[in-house]
């Protein structure tokens, strides 16, 4: 019996763009780019658009230059989430151990499923067929003994590809694999590796673990392990919500503090609503800023007590904004709450009676919005920005 670990990674092909093509037949066969306005970034590009060099995370304005005939559409996250749930349900038919990594990616532990579904390739093909049947979409699949290799494998033959790395083939697979394919090796590490003459995973092993630790610290140890094909094969099924956040990219860079704070208020309302909807409270509030030169920073504050009220999130975010040096104009602003813990909280020496009032206010506003829509009730401060 084959007891070696087998991790399968599923990656939906050009997911957002494919959903758009699925829902609107007139888009099929055409270069579809998800991402609108001149200021945003491309969330997804159909394979027809990729021919022109359009890639995810590219500024929309650059995508327009590369592919002027592209069809640019706004994203529909709720629809993508719906299709994502269908995909995850299909994966659950093949193994109870499914870890959703993002809206369009998941790991499946298929160890010991050979008797049920046959060898990994057969299972992978059956899984692709079921996903297509359930959603009408294609996906690429990689199977390997560990998670990071399975992810590399799923990216190996896109779209609709299947790549299997058997345990005995790991060393050969990695020997000539560009080191940049290893997750985490990117813009900062690659030039340093190039200086050392390291371009492939095989070349990483020319140096000892100690050497890498000295040069790259803890990450050096991980890199050395990954170049040998060692990594985690443990899955965390049903990963729970770890944070809630909202962000906006501006149509025009902003430096006006009042305007930035109005955006923070809108975003704090969205995050607060999301937390309350999921019954969560978080202790850490994070402010995210992207400047006009595309540099981005985050500033976080961990509070003594977990919060979920709009105004508490907003006030903390404003404090963080006030304490942040802003010499350049802002391109994007966002706020998030994390560090959830249903556990116990220490009581306050001087309880804030205002907090209970805020909670009641949020509850009332939530209930009005649930019944009559978001736009029916609005904070006075937000009217100023709309004028």
């Amino acid at each position: 019996m084959d007891s070696a670990k087998r991790i399968l990674h599923v990656d939906m092909d050009a997911f957002f763009a494919s959903v758009e093509q699925l829902d609107d037949p007139s888009l099929r066969g055409k270069p579809v780019i998800v991402g609108k306005g001149d200021r945003g970034v491309v969330s997804a590009a159909s394979y027809e658009a990729r021919v022109y060099g359009v890639r995810s995370a590219m500024p929309v304005v650059q995508a327009r230059k590369l592919c002027p005939q592209g069809i640019f559409v706004g994203g529909r996250m709720s629809r993508y989430a719906e299709v994502s749930r269908q995909v995850m349900a299909v994966l659950g038919e093949f193994s109870p151990l499914v870890e959703q990594a993002s809206v369009d990616e998941a790991y499946v532990d298929i160890t010991g499923t050979r008797t049920l579904f046959g060898p990994p390739r057969k299972l992978a093909e059956a899984l692709q067929a079921r996903v297509r049947e359930a959603t009408g979409l294609s996906c690429s699949v990689g199977v390997a003994p560990v998670k990071f290799l399975a992810k590399i494998a799923s990216d190996f033959r896109k779209p609709s590809g299947v790549t299997i790395i058997e345990p005995e083939d790991v060393a050969a697979f990695l020997q000539d694999l560009p080191v940049g394919k290893i997750p985490g090796v990117g813009g900062k590490t690659l030039p340093r590796l190039a200086q050392l003459g390291v371009r492939t995973c095989g070349e990483v092993l020319r140096y000892s673990r100690q050497f890498w630790e000295e040069h790259l610290g803890e990450w050096g140890r991980v890199l050395h392990q990954r170049a040998q094909g060692l990594g985690s094969a443990e899955l965390t099924p049903h990963s729970e919500m770890k944070s809630s956040s909202a962000e906006n990219t501006f149509a025009k860079d902003v430096s006006d503090e009042e305007e930035l704070k109005r955006w923070l208020l809108r975003q704090s309302e969205r995050v607060g609503r999301d937390l309350r909807k999921h019954g969560l409270q978080g202790r850490t509030v994070t402010l995210k800023l992207k400047f006009e030169d595309f540099k981005h920073i985050t500033r976080s504050r961990t509070l003594a007590e977990p919060i979920d009220t709009d105004l508490e999130i907003f006030r903390t975010a404003c404090d963080l904004l006030d304490q942040t040096e802003r010499r350049k104009r802002i391109r994007l602003i966002g706020v998030g709450v994390s560090n959830f813990g249903g556990g116990s909280a220490q009581l306050s020496l001087m309880p804030d009676e205002n907090r209970e009032r805020l909670k009641r206010l949020d509850k009332a506003v939530d209930s009005i919005r649930d019944r009559h829509g978001r736009s029916l009730i609005k904070r006075g401060k937000l009217f100023e920005g709309d004028q």
């Binding site: 003594a304 813990g341 556990g343 116990s344 909280a345 220490q346 009581l347 306050s348 020496l349 001087m350």
Partner: protein
């Protein structure tokens, strides 16, 4: 300026001076250490625009003068030089300070002289003598409760004020409060009626400067001054002017009727809490105190992944309270500040302030707020029909 000093005479003062200036960031003039040769002494001065340090050290002054140098480099250089005489000479253009010792010669660029701002002078007239180690101890006993941030419920300041015959020093972080009282008529007489507030970051720097020796203390309208008894070094910091939260509101609750009293051996309790803390998690960082069994205190903690811990110990208890939970690590830290073998917990309720005192810790009170007890149900079964 031309002055001869010995390394031993200036190195300690230079280090204190370098401690104040910003290490890397900040305006160039703040990174400057100022050297002034006058009246048979070398004055070393530095500031971060809030704190000010001035030290005066024996020197052979050949030519009087003033210059500023990049503080960190100057300190590093002197630190690395061997013991012996060091000559500091400003070149005729005033652009470079020549540092020489035996065959070693260094040139340090000097700062713009116009950057020099006079330092606040230790107030002439009224000052009091105080013990440096006593002030250090006071800081130690309340500093851990001083908040990192100013909030509605706490203040990132140490507070000192005169109350009747005593002086009270306090720290408050919203969940914990520490207060140390002492009798010193001179200090009490010098404090303004509203007390003084010292920002947390300045308290830290003051602690670095303090030694066990006697110090002189003076207060001006805006600053607090400390000076060594030999008057060679002085350190001053700005006072803050905010309304300190009214701590009497929760301190008063400890003397209301109906409070429960728990007495336990400090060492045994600390050791038990230390073991129990192993079973705490990020989400559950508390220890439950079960008080139902007479003469016995039972401590408990459990975590989903960490397991469970229960320890019982002898304890004196009087009152109605059955159960209360405290953050384990915070309570351990508090107990570490008591010298008494036995500590007393004055419990005002499961969700009310708890005062901790010790017989041998006169005029020392720490108040900790309990954790809100959340009864979590891990498993539930539907009742059968």
């Amino acid at each position: 300026m031309f002055v001869k000093v010995t390394r031993t005479d200036i190195i300690e003062g230079l280090q204190k001076s370098a401690n104040i200036i910003p290490a890397k960031t900040g305006a160039a003039f703040l990174r400057t250490i100022w050297l002034s040769a006058e009246n048979g002494a070398l004055r070393i001065m530095s500031t971060d625009s809030s704190l000010e340090f001035v030290g005066s050290y024996r020197a052979e002054v050949v030519e009087q003068g003033l210059c500023g140098v990049q503080g960190r480099s100057f300190f590093d250089l002197v630190r690395k030089l061997p013991a012996g005489e060091i000559q500091l000479k400003l070149d005729p253009t005033g652009q470079t300070l020549l540092v020489s010792q035996a065959g070693r010669n260094y040139k340090l660029p000097t700062s713009e002289k116009s950057w020099f701002q006079p330092f606040a002078e230790f107030p002439q007239g009224e000052h009091v003598m105080w013990s440096g180690d006593f002030l250090q101890e006071l800081i130690d006993r309340v500093f851990f409760c001083v908040s990192d941030e100013d909030t509605m419920e706490a203040m990132a300041c140490m507070y000192m004020r005169a109350v009747e015959e005593k002086v009270e020093v306090c720290g408050l972080n919203g969940h914990q409060f520490a207060m140390c009282g002492f009798v010193n008529d001179d200090v009490r007489g010098m404090l303004p009626p509203e007390g003084v507030l010292i920002q947390k970051k300045y308290v830290l720097e003051l602690k670095k400067w303090l030694t066990a020796d006697e110090i002189e203390l003076a207060i001006s309208q805006k600053r607090l001054f400390f000076r060594t008894q030999d008057q060679r070094e002085s350190f001053s910091l700005p006072l803050s002017y905010f309304q300190y939260p009214d701590y009497k509101s929760f301190v008063g609750k400890l003397s209301t009727p109906g409070v429960s009293e728990l007495q336990a051996e400090k060492a045994a309790l600390s050791e038990a809490l230390d073991r129990i803390s192993i079973f705490n998690t990020d989400n559950n960082r508390c220890t439950y105190f079960q008080l139902e069994t007479p003469g016995q205190l039972t401590l408990q903690s459990q975590g989903n992944d960490t397991g469970a811990a229960t320890e019982s110990m002898e304890a004196g208890f009087a009152g109605e309270l059955k159960k209360i939970a405290f953050p384990t690590r915070d309570l351990l830290e508090i107990l570490g500040h008591f010298h008494s073998p036995k500590v007393r917990f004055t419990l005002t309720g499961a969700e009310g302030p708890c005062g901790i005192t010790g017989e041998d810790d006169a005029d020392y009170l720490v108040i900790i707020m309990p954790m809100k007890i959340v009864e979590e149900t891990y498993y539930s079964e539907e009742a059968s029909a």
